[in-house]
């Protein structure tokens, strides 16, 4: 097990003081902080072997290509993929999900076919289906969670029919913290309709717990670098190789080409046919370093640490009067995120008062407006945790909330 206080020392941002006070960062669900080794890895590319990949036959280009592809191998291993060729680098989770929508769904889901989307999805896994569905005539069915923030698997008996072509689901809610039992869900979906594919938005689980895409049995899995200690600008889409090979690219351009004639083009194989244009080379190399860092901590330990922090936060936040927490109330079932409201103060006012002590939380609907509408709440405040979150950070949060209590009493 690691010590979060020591982990903090690896993150240069914690040496910064604002108004003489340190930063208490409780918004890792939005984006994570970056350890020095990730910054060094990217800087090394920009200072020692800056070159484009896949073309130069000179040393530094070969080095850049090797480093870039090494990250693909690391990511593949990190999520239990059978082959690095199943890893596509995109810009972010949204782009990964759009890639599935445009390159697979548009050709394979026809007018009148159904898709199932849960109500707890982030907009990135809701809006592409809703918008594309308007053009294609898809029927979108919504799978709703109960008041405790849990999905009932028996609902699938009704939701998954012969005409359901895709279930797209988050593995962990960015608001409720609910960890969905993906393996069980995939098994059930496939038993009801073996032809229905399952796409998993793992943006909130890849950074926080061990994941194994093969064990899940899913068809596509998407996540982002910036939420798992890596830089912004890089996302990942994993897909079963045969599936990726059957799909047409959705972005055309450089890097993805085998040959081009005046009237035809031949594309590379997956994953490269989906990586048009010069990618974020430094970013992908940074992600590789982030994966190394997380692997060294051990993903089981990361999860264990967050469970401890969540259990502590759930207990301490009960001290605050008029405070309601959403989602599962048991750390075992909850990712490192607690969304809450206070009877006397609006979420924005809570966030603003906490900011006076550099306590960074988020307020709003957290890109999950359908979920907030379904719960009948305009906005929640949200504190979220990661490898560098300590019990002292939670104490600071609770002190801040007591301050809100006093101001708005």
């Amino acid at each position: 097990m690691f010590d979060a206080k020591l982990v903090k020392k690896d993150f240069p941002i914690f040496t910064r003081k604002i108004h003489g006070k340190p930063i208490i960062y409780l918004d890792s669900t939005a984006t994570s902080l970056k350890p020095q080794i990730v910054l060094d890895a990217m800087n090394e590319y920009y200072t020692k072997y800056t070159a484009n990949i896949f073309r130069g036959i000179y040393v530094i280009s070969e080095e850049a290509t090797a480093k870039y592809e090494e990250s693909r191998v690391k990511v593949a291993k990190f999520i239990g993929a059978k082959s690095p060729n199943e890893i596509i680098f995109t810009r972010n989770t949204s782009e990964s999900l759009n890639l599935v929508a445009y390159s697979w769904a548009k050709d394979n889901i026809h007018s009148g076919d159904h898709l199932v989307v849960t109500i707890m999805e982030h907009h990135s896994n809701f809006v592409p289906w809703q918008q594309l569905g308007k053009e294609t005539g898809w029927v979108i069915d919504i799978w709703r969670n109960n008041k405790q923030g849990l999905l009932n698997l028996n609902d699938l008996d009704k939701l998954i029919t012969r005409r359901t072509k895709l279930l797209t689901i988050t593995s962990a809610s960015n608001v409720l913290g609910t960890i969905n039992p993906i393996k069980k869900i995939v098994k059930k979906v496939k038993s009801l309709n073996p032809k229905c594919l399952v796409l998993v938005d793992a943006a909130q689980s890849a950074p926080h717990m061990p994941i194994d895409v093969v064990d899940w049995g899913a068809d596509f899995v998407a996540f982002s670098s910036h939420k798992m200690l890596g830089p912004t600008g890089v996302g990942v889409l994993w897909g079963k190789y045969e599936l990726l090979e059957s799909m047409k690219p959705f972005l055309f351009g450089g890097e993805m080409i085998e040959e081009v004639r005046e009237d035809t083009s031949l594309f590379k194989h997956a994953p490269h046919k989906f990586e048009a244009g010069t990618p974020d080379i430094a970013g992908v190399i940074g992600l590789g370093a982030a994966v190394d860092y997380l692997t060294k901590l051990g993903m089981d330990n990361v999860r264990k640490h967050e469970e401890e922090i969540v259990a502590y936060a759930l207990k301490r936040m009960k001290e605050i009067s008029g405070l309601t927490m959403y989602g599962p109330n048991n750390a075992k079932e909850k990712g490192g995120v607690i969304a809450f409201t206070m009877k006397q103060a609006h979420a924005h006012d809570i966030a603003q008062i906490l900011d006076e002590d550099n306590i960074c939380i988020r307020a709003g609907n957290h890109c999950a407006m359908p979920l907030h509408l379904d719960m009948g709440i305009a906005a929640t405040a949200r504190a979220s945790f990661y490898v560098y979150t300590t019990k002292e950070d939670i104490d600071a949060l609770v002190n801040g909330l007591h301050k809100v209590e006093k101001i708005f009493e």
Partner: protein
């Protein structure tokens, strides 16, 4: 920070001119959906002057207390004067500046009021 000064909280907890007019000359409702702020402004106009005003809605302390303070300020003001009010006026009324993310909370009520005025005095 001084944005939660006594006066703002006082307006938040005891909003002035809160409620509805029986027969408003104009009524406009606008929200800031992502924040969950919502303001409804109802006005009565007599001889190009704001004779009476009520607001309702829900949201953060900044959005609601600004609306309350604004209704006190504009009662009796000419429509053309209301149309000229700007962000600077709101900040001086609040006696503080705000961070960019909170500015929209503070400006919502003025925006809604000016839309209501524009209905009568385009």
């Amino acid at each position: 920070m001084d944005i939660y000064r006594e006066i703002i909280l006082d307006h938040y907890k005891n909003p002035r001119n809160f409620g509805h007019l029986k027969r408003p000359t104009a009524k406009v409702e606008e929200g800031n959906v992502t924040c969950g702020d919502r303001i409804i402004m109802e006005i009565n106009v007599k001889k190009n002057t704001l004779a009476d005003i009520r607001f309702s809605g829900e949201g953060c302390a900044i959005s609601q207390s600004t609306a309350s303070m604004l209704t006190e300020k504009v009662k009796g003001m000419s429509l053309s004067a209301v149309k000229k009010l700007d962000a600077k006026y709101i900040f001086s009324m609040l006696g503080t500046t705000l961070t960019p993310s909170r500015t929209k909370c503070a400006l919502l009520s003025l925006e809604v009021l000016q839309k209501a005025v524009a209905k009568i005095h385009p």
